[in-house]
Symmetry: C2
Subunit: 818 residues, 2 copies
């Protein structure tokens, strides 16, 4: 399981095709399904029927039918379709390869048509199969929703328990967490953090026999640090040993995967298990990381795993991505209890190809997942919202100005965070630091736990901190944050703070220190080799800033009540400024600055706080954060990490901004060796093998002749190799056997030859050499191509692949910046 990470990091845009070629041969089609097929090949006038059956089986499997229940696509039946529509390509993708959406989707359409034709024959079993097929997408996302919901429930409950175990254990039963332990206790009191105190729950300092005092404080610190370091270390070791892909937030990689890249094992079961465990340990260790972003990865793992139960999705990479898009929305839905926000997150941030059908399925999946989490009820509360705000938030027009300032600060935070974090990640990659990931995690845990202990706002968990910051001071709330002179009219009435007392000033200073602490630690933490998300830390930093500004505004309104904005906007009978509202808005702005989300962010915040009345302030701050952030540096943290890791991601949000033409980008250019092509008629097996072995392309164009260069079609190397292997095993060919790629060519008398026309893609997408690159990149983005042929008057001039475009874009950008 330790494979993957190291190679992965070395992959650049020019990732190896050669290495993969060997892999493809090793895991070639014949062995791929565990079935050895040594049958006679397709020779002219010889056993045509049987060899058609072989090809039909291959086509059927590849179109996504269950390999154990292959439908009988014998010639009689295939003729019911127009034979030409059959996708003749039988490849599977190698690791770190780009998928061809167009081909995959047409394969699926073929499967679909076959089932429909069967259904029309009227047999009950065929009808049932067609219905099962039609419903399998919904059933699959239902399972994913269930899976993601359960995973989230387990992680939430687990991290709750491990967080509690840091302070003590339950005498009755060690597996109960503090709240459960004290449920039926006789004497329950609550400490400053609203944690229950009861006889059944024994703190570690009590076990050591210490009473409160400086010794107790010291030992509590020691125990706190020991547990934090222990949790961090275990998480890092688990990741390193069992699933290197489980580290980080996973969102950049999932964006890349959804854009059509294959990373084997990234969404596997081990990644799922280790990531879940790592999230429990990492968040309990008190590190400056969230477990919300990684939920997207966990849900996507569920998506990938469950898709294998449905060959339609599991065996078709393009269709699988529809399911993964839905899974990603379930991830956000479980993380924040925000199903609509989750769907919009998937649409705005991670997905590449998002047809309406996927929108509906994503919504369903997100709903199911959110519903399961609500039912499991990991937070042990009535509400299914994490940061439920219990008051009706109000705001006045003039407050839009501080909200915009918060937005600008959010943009600034995003700029700082992206620049410094990427710099730090580069240092980690290039220096010795990267070689000791576990040591790094231990050091970070140690520093976070030790320095965080002295400030109550950094000692409590980040979600708890946010909950406090977005809250409103109640009549009985006597924490520093709520140390106001209050004007309480009656028990049920609203509490109106009238003057700031000493405690509030103290709280501001502590919050400011917490802000600095988190700003430093987030940059160091995001990127260490354990699961870590940035949602909650960004929200926390934003909420701190927002609360500070909110309190400042409030103090201003206390001191200058006659200033015209306060005089106009404030009313004696209600609180004029609610600092909790500023904390919500600040949280939104800072997360927006880091990720550059807008619509989905606002919706997530609305669902998170269930405050529909704050939609305008949230929008204003998210937009100012986005605009100012994009002005300072374009692209969010996820895009920055995609660039850092050189993932082959062709951003469909960006317009092509240069002036090149297909002829300028295609291979070969002037000084390159000429393009490797195959001739449709007259080459022998050995000649073709010589060519394919020398080159490192994944496929070859076929032309009429070297002289004319007229394009006939395109064939994948993998298919050629497979076909030759099979024919050789049948023993009926030798190296000098002729190969014909066209159907219409007839063979001479007594001439032995192989006809491979059914493996040739007869209508590859072509453009003329004078096509602007605007159109070419659009074709790649919208049609999901992996290769495009460039012709002039029907003659082949060159090919353009996705990596050619990425290389071209990188070069042009470099030129521009010089």
């Amino acid at each position: 399981m330790s494979r993957g990470k190291r190679e992965f990091e070395n992959i650049t845009v020019g990732y190896s095709n050669q290495a993969d070629q060997e892999d493809s041969r090793k895991n070639g089609y014949v062995e791929f399904f565990g079935i050895t097929r040594v049958r006679k090949g397709t020779f002219l006038n010889e056993e045509v029927v049987q060899s058609e059956k072989i090809i039909n089986d291959i086509v059927a499997m590849d179109a996504g039918f269950d390999p154990n229940q292959l439908p009988d696509l014998s010639i009689g039946q295939t003729n019911i379709f127009n034979e030409r529509i059959m996708p003749k390509i039988t490849e599977k993708y190698g690791n770190f390869h780009t998928i061809d959406w167009l081909r995959d989707l047409s394969k699926d359409k073929y499967r679909h048509k076959w089932l429909k034709k069967q259904k029309e024959k009227g047999k009950l079993i065929d009808k049932l199969q067609a219905w099962h097929d039609a419903g399998s997408g919904w059933f699959c996302v239902l399972l994913i929703g269930l899976g993601a919901g359960i995973a989230a429930g387990v992680v939430d409950i687990g991290s709750n328990w491990t967080s509690n175990i840091k302070s003590g254990y339950c005498k009755k039963a060690f597996w109960l967490n503090r709240e459960q332990c004290c449920w039926d206790a006789l004497n329950i009191t609550y400490d400053n953090y609203k944690n229950p105190i009861c006889d059944e729950w024994i703190s570690w300092t009590e076990v050591l026999g210490l009473k409160s005092g400086s010794t107790e404080y010291f030992f509590a610190l020691i125990i706190h640090v020991i547990f934090a370091v222990m949790f961090g270390t275990v998480a890092a070791v688990l990741v390193k040993v069992y699933a290197p892909y489980a580290c980080g937030s996973g969102v950049p990689e999932i964006k890349t995967i959804l854009s059509g890249f294959v990373i084997r094992g990234y969404l596997g079961k081990w990644t799922l298990i280790i990531k879940s465990l790592g999230m429990i340990l990492g968040s309990s260790a008190g590190l400056t990381l969230g477990k919300e972003g990684p939920f997207v990865h966990v849900a996507s793992c569920c998506g990938n795993i469950f898709s294998y139960f449905f060959p339609k999705y599991g065996r078709n990479e393009a269709k699988k991505r529809e399911i993964l898009s839905a899974a990603a929305s379930a991830g956000v839905a479980v993380a924040f209890g925000a199903p609509i926000g989750g769907v919009l997150f998937s649409l705005e941030e991670v997905s590449y190809y998002f047809p309406l059908k996927t929108l509906w399925r994503s919504f369903f999946c997100a709903m199911v997942a959110a519903f399961i989490v609500r039912t499991i009820n990991p937070y042990g509360k009535e509400r299914d919202v994490i940061f439920f705000i219990e008051y009706q938030p109000e705001w006045s027009f003039f407050e839009l100005i501080p909200f915009i300032i918060l937005g600008l600060l959010g943009g600034l935070f995003g700029y700082y965070f992206i620049k410094v974090n990427i710099l730090w990640c580069k240092i980690r990659k290039t220096t010795k630091l990267g070689k000791f990931p576990i040591t790094e995690v231990i050091l970070i845990s140690l520093i976070t736990a030790f320095f965080g202990f002295f400030n109550e706002y950094t000692r409590m968990s980040m979600p708890e901190l946010i909950r406090r910051l977005v809250g409103k001071c109640g009549p009985s709330d006597d924490s520093y944050l709520c140390d106001y002179a209050k004007n309480i009219t009656s028990a049920n009435e609203e509490v109106i703070p009238t003057k700031d007392n000493f405690g509030v000033h103290e709280a501001i200073w502590k919050l400011f220190l917490a802000l600095l602490f988190y700003l430093v630690m987030l940059v160091l933490t995001f990127g260490i080799k354990i699961p870590c998300g940035l949602f909650v830390p960004s929200l926390a930093i934003g909420a701190i800033t927002g609360r500070i500004i909110g309190i400042a505004m409030e103090i201003l309104s206390f001191n200058y009540p006659s200033f015209f904005v306060f005089a106009a906007g404030c009313n004696e009978n209600v609180a004029c400024i609610i600092p909790g509202v500023y904390a919500i808005v600040g949280a939104c702005a800072f997360l927006g600055g880091a990720t550059r989300m807008t619509v989905s962010l606002v919706v997530i915040m609305v669902e998170l706080t269930s405050g529909l009345s704050l939609i305008v302030p949230l929008m204003v701050s998210a937009f100012s954060a986005k605009l100012f952030g994009e002005f300072l540096c374009p692209g969010g943290i996820y895009d920055a990490h995609i660039n850092l890791n050189n993932y082959p991601f062709l951003d469909n949000k960006e317009d092509y901004e240069f002036s090149a033409f297909a002829v300028d980008v295609m291979k070969p250019q002037k000084n390159d060796p000429p393009l490797t092509v195959l001739i449709q008629d007259g080459m022998t097996i050995s000649q073709i093998e010589e060519i394919t072995e020398k080159s490192n392309f994944t496929g070859f164009p076929i032309v009429v002749s070297h002289e004319s260069q007229l394009l006939v079609g395109y064939i994948l190397k993998r298919d050629l190799v497979m076909a030759f292997d099979q024919y050789k095993k049948s023993g009926l060919v030798n190296s000098n056997t002729l190969v014909k790629f066209s159907k219409t060519l007839s063979n001479k008398k007594n001439e032995t030859c192989i006809k491979l026309d059914r493996l040739v893609e007869m209508a590859p997408i072509c453009v003329s050499d004078q096509t602007p690159m605007d159109t070419v990149t659009d074709l790649f983005k919208k049609m999901g191509l992996s290769i495009l042929l460039v012709t002039h008057f029907g003659k082949l001039l060159g090919v353009i692949t996705k990596k050619d475009i990425l290389k071209h874009l990188a070069e042009e950008r470099e030129k521009k910046n010089l």
Copy 2:
């Protein structure tokens, strides 16, 4: 202004090109901008610079620069770009034509690059211009948001006043509505409908000196009917005389326009004004129609009008559609106070091409619009939500079963509504009925007003009815709907109904009659020639059904409290079943059944009722309505109306399900006359004119020679005609002058010839003849093509247009159904 409607209805898929050709010549380029350009043409070795200037001006204007401030794209400057990228096509689209997104977007990119290059030159004015350009999209949607918000405020206030004027007038000032009139009155009481009664407001029966009694009732009926018929008639006459396009909901047409169709005047200022007036009158007439759907049309009109202030959008049909998508979301945002739902509505239901940039702009536009409406505050309440529910809606698991039943009923309603309404519309189209639209409106108004008067639930306005149905019975509510034996513990506590009294039974019967009434009237009304939407009527019918089922469930729970579901799900201290929740869910289900919206519908309902806790029931009902509805008949009411009117709409939600190839669909087929092509060299002006005049194509492929048929490029007829016109005006050509379409061809000594290479599209999108139609339709949908050339080995075989595809689809579907 009466043009349009009649021709419009006769348009079928094979809409005329010939007629439009004449139009294009009449309104040709030269006159189009009010500038007569008679300059010398582009001859070889002669005044090259000046003729380049002409072409550059044309290109600049066409790329979307302001015609009054054309940038100087002289040769020196154009060379700073690669000259090949310049979009050489200078057409404007005719009425009922299909736009070419690819070409329009590339034009805009050209403009963008020019501005960027200018900006880099560093002059302040250029920089300002570039910034203005970059910000103009945002500024434009800001204006649209303001415009749509103000329009909505005016319509809401206006329809409030006209609704009031039906019952009486304000003695103080006739322009005040009832609520405003009674604001500072001394003795205010409220009638059954919660309308204020005061001395300043005089009802018409009082004017006639009638006291309450049967005579008063009779005269109230007469006055009610007279006003309703009067409002209906005025609306119908206004629509007929001033803006025929203002009738209907407008959503099907806007879907078609957004998919790339041009309907001149459909989004004009007259349509805007008449539609707004018609909405005021139509809804005050008490007809079974809503003014919420037409808001989408009104907002789109604002979008179209404001886009003309920004040549970037106004002069580029593809870019304008981005703005129109944003405007459509503003329409829903103002209709329901639902900005997020509006964006999703635009995404899910009406838009065709929805890049992320449009998502952000739509969101901004919708927010601004919703904010303006909130500020104008037409409903005179604190809430910006129309059907604000004042209680915290709760639901139990077992209630999902009735919610699913509501969903199925919603699907059934959709099926019934679509089938019967379309049937009725066909009758209207084919029989004499269609010739008397005003009479029809008068009749419908008469019937609705008369029969509606006798039932209080049909006499009150539909929004008022919905508000009551979704409400919860309060302690002092003594209407029939709330006639329960109640268990009131204290004034502040919740009211728990314990038994149904007589009034509830009475209310159920009346609701049932209202349901039947609305079911019949909606079908007859949707499609009459005044502005009419179906959102609110569908919501009302759904809310009635929901309330009835809710009350039935409630009565069950009163009578069988020990039945296991009630025993498990109900709690003595809270109301077990809230019929208002059923009304909300039913409204959602029925609207979903009619329109087949899902995600956007749920979000709209959440924003509408501000009940985030009902998201699961809403989703369950919307999904069951959609699934059952699609099972009964695929496609919502809007799609049905698009089909009914034969709009050229290529649905991007549907997969291509047949097995044809490009060669089977392209023109010419076997028995067709050969394709009209131009030869790149050697044709004279008169030869070309003969060809263009005979044919009714919008453009011509250019080939190397008749023998080779090798494709060179594609030229628009319009451009040819314009170019010849200009050259002839210059007096330097005659009919025998040679025309060359290629740059590389040199002319013989002393030979006079015209070179039109800059007008030729050198890289039209081509496919091979063996390309499956899957891929071809995908290219049309995703790339927004209007024409595609089919080649084989570089030789032109035929062309495929959008209308060829639509015809092919219609034929295949017919074949399948036989």
